[in-house]
Symmetry: C2
Subunit: 234 residues, 2 copies
Amino acid sequence: MSLIFKPLFEKESSTYTYLLADSNTKEAIIIDAVDETQQRDIGLIEELGLDLKYIIETHVHADHITSSCPLKQKFTNAQIVLGKTNSIACADVLIKDQEALEFGDYQITAMTTPGHTDGCMSYVVGDKVFTGDALLIRSCGRCDFQGGSADKLFDSIQKIFSLPDETYVYPAHDYGGRTVSTIWEEKAFNTMIGDSVDKAEFVRRVNAMELALPAKIHVAVPANQVCGSKIISE
Amino acid sequence: MSLIFKPLFEKESSTYTYLLADSNTKEAIIIDAVDETQQRDIGLIEELGLDLKYIIETHVHADHITSSCPLKQKFTNAQIVLGKTNSIACADVLIKDQEALEFGDYQITAMTTPGHTDGCMSYVVGDKVFTGDALLIRSCGRCDFQGGSADKLFDSIQKIFSLPDETYVYPAHDYGGRTVSTIWEEKAFNTMIGDSVDKAEFVRRVNAMELALPAKIHVAVPANQVCGSKIISE
């Protein structure tokens, strides 16, 4: 058995989508799929002969629209997975902390990591953690909308940091073109948080982020609350 | 021992840069570094405490300017490596087919793969091949400048296809955000070449590519012929 692992990139929103599959059974999962690149992803799933079981979101994104619903229409056995806190009606599975899903001989285990949004989840597959917008490479998610809380994000990142140091970190975005980090690197070099930053200092740093709202937030959040089943025009 | 492996992306030219290192000895190589992202790459090399030994180019690029020379100025023990056919004076090593360079306990082995340009090289490190613009994901490099030859490219891709089917393919670019392929996938699904395409049909397909010249070609090629040591203005 071996793991098929395809990190994929969407340029406009700098979003990483991750396709994983068991090479023997062909059972597959996709994490954070984007509407703009759905044809690429559908093509890849079809070419590789994969049996898509789960369409997983780390959170309700504000910067792009998910392709969950179109993917489910195409791969009708697939189930849409979101964290339980989101209470999203279009999700087939509202996953809880430490709950695991199987694809072939592999498991993906959910980890609640609120803070960027209240419903944010990270997911662990073997030596890889998919951190969504909780832990980014050398940075972290903003906390100024969708129930964001720098206080909660601090605790969530500590939880992620409890994974083995060698664990590979695959975030939902990187604006500098980096594709992967590790837990030890983020403990050592993350500019927002790390071994020496306490919660008060972290909250201060997060609150000092001066960021414009994501351009698509008023379209993306409502669209993602229905799993991308309809695009709401501005 | 383990391999540090960082695929990195430059958005403007959709170029992949690859940083590899031996985690024990810290000896490192970088493949196809780009001027636009040199600060990111320098930062990463410094943070990880790497000893950069080789700055390697798959070819003299026409679409972006290399950061070879600035990297060498920063990491003064590093040597610039290009394929022998290029006869580039600024290169410290003009590498030949099947010649290998060592970084820690790892080796990188050169493979002449002309066709996109006459001096194109691919490089093998263990189960990974870095194919430059010879073999792209589901595609291949154009052959209409810098001594390009579809006839030669066909033979070069056959040579790449002689690697084990499970070998991971890391190209210099992907415009669709795919980050990795495998030899078996390209044999099966490459739209330009594959198990069933003969040389005449491949040459016909390459000649039928209708592409504008790369926007930066008149700046990038002269700049890259001096390893990015000076930027020649248009």
